[in-house]
Amino acid sequence: MATDTTMNKPGLLAHAGGYKAMALVALVTILSLGLLANDTRWIYLLVYVWFGVAYGVFLQYGRFCMASAVRDLFAIKVPRMAVGVMIATALFSITAGLVTVSGYSTFHPHPLGWHIIAGGLIFGFGMIFTGGCASGSLYKTGEGNMGSMLVLLSISFSMALFADLGSWSNSLAPAGWAESALEKGMPEELSVTDGWFDLFTAGYVWNLSGGTVADMVGTGNVWIDVFVGNVLLTAMLPTLVILVILYVSTYRKGFIRRNKLQSLSFGDEMRGIWGMITTSKNTAIAGLGLGIFAGLQMWATGALREHYEIFNFGELLMKMGYTEGLSIQETVFDPGYWYITTQEAQLGGWVLNLFGRDVTDNIFFGLQNGIPNPLINAPLLMSVGIIVGASILALSRREFKWKVPNMETAVFAIVGGALMGIGARLGMGCNVGAFFAAVTNGDLTGWIFLAGMLIGGLLGVKAFNMWLNRKSAGDEFDI
């Protein structure tokens, strides 16, 4: 009988970590109050910050990481994290559905094309080496893991550089993309025919279309469209199928052995599936929390946009006198829901700009997202909030530890992070924006991204195992 005997778990105030966690909460509260005293309209930005803190707490609690899910599944055939992620997906779809029905959804479906699977593949391959997906790297940074910090930096700069590829990359794009990009009639300062990523965006992605399954169902009754199309068909049913596959291919054999069963009745199978689900309890609880808060964030941001009569945070920043770093449409990246990577790309772009590289002459920064100062970049502060939230919980649970990467981990973090960054830009998001948020809002491209991520993850595990076997020669194995 397995017994969890994790000992030495004192109360919150019985150790220094508890005080540090409380100090962090106090610091964020004081800074928030200071901002509100300056201008109450900062509430829009603070919604991002505090939801980020909540996401960080849940991510650390459930150790919610797609890299762990894929790697554990393929490397050691343990489905625990994959099961948790699937349950989280199903639960999040319900809250997302409620927000959509209420009319406050800020979600936009992604255009469907080969780039989704290619992006997922590159992202999945990279994340096996970094040991964390986009959200995983954020919460691990909050636990004091400096390797994950390196991953985040690598993702940030690789995305910024990929979005701002120079003229040398033009020849890598099909000729048709340039013609198509020109037809879009974009402002000259964007130079949309110069740079692979601009050609890819204007000449390829903009020609594609996307939509949600609710749109396809189209009965006219929003409840039926959303809950049948988005929740049941897009999230629940595929999740159920995946759970059954995971049970049969990994968990079932051990379940039969432990319970000394000769043949399994339907009831036994159900008990087995339930047993598999309950081993992922923490991740599932985290998923439920993430789902509820992600839905609440969409609702809160939607309500604030209505209150301030704006469509984008850039308009509010303009009214507050902050014009620097906005796109030529006077907008900034403002998804209004849980999203990671674009804001990190903005950070990379902002730093590159600071050092003299003009990154505003492309579509990604110049037209769509801008490069606002990190201190007023709401989604970026949401990412900071995730790190802070994870730190708060890790400190209070005595799980915070400064971990310095060795040379091997640092190289994997930088190279893997760069691949994740390229994959995220190509696939129009990461495991959160391109998979989690997409699938739960009825966008089938999320499953395509996941398929790519699984293929990439499988290849990554194969390559990683080859490296491990080579490295094993250096291990002492004295038994």
């Binding site: 397995a2 005997t5 030495n8 150790r63 050691i76 040991g131 400064w402 981990t409 291990d475």
Partner: protein, 122 residues
């Protein structure tokens, strides 16, 4: 905290430029060794440990793979102690024992690491 950051940077640079930093060097390789020690585990009393898997500073899935390798090598009933500072390993190990032919006896949190105790069953 500042001291820890400086120590961290020192260790990182030490690894980067191969400075002879004993602490950094000591953690560069994992080890699996036969031991004969005992430990008090809640719910199990005094337990005899037959093998130790040292894998601090190692990322997943290396500690899990080394543990499986160790469980394959030891005799039935032998308890293996896995020393790690990786929380993912701590979380994964009980589930891994559900799949493989072992039992998770417990996990003890130390100051800077965790000791996980698993026993070969078959």
């Amino acid at each position: 905290m500042l001291g820890k950051i400086i120590q961290g940077i020192r260790m990182f640079l030490g690894n980067l430029f191969h400075w002879k930093d004993e602490e950094a060097h000591a953690h560069r390789h994992s080890s699996v060794t036969r031991i004969n020690e005992s430990v008090e585990l809640p719910g199990h009393g005094l337990v005899q440990i037959g093998c130790r898997v040292e894998c601090e500073s190692e990322g997943c899935p290396r500690p899990q793979l080394l543990t499986l390798k160790a469980l394959n090598e030891v005799d039935r009933g032998v308890v293996v102690e896995v020393v790690t500072d990786n929380l993912s390993v701590v979380e994964t190990m009980p589930s891994m024992m559900d799949i493989y032919e072992g039992v998770h006896l417990g996990t003890v949190q130390g100051k800077d690491n965790w000791c996980i105790y698993v026993r070969r069953e078959i």
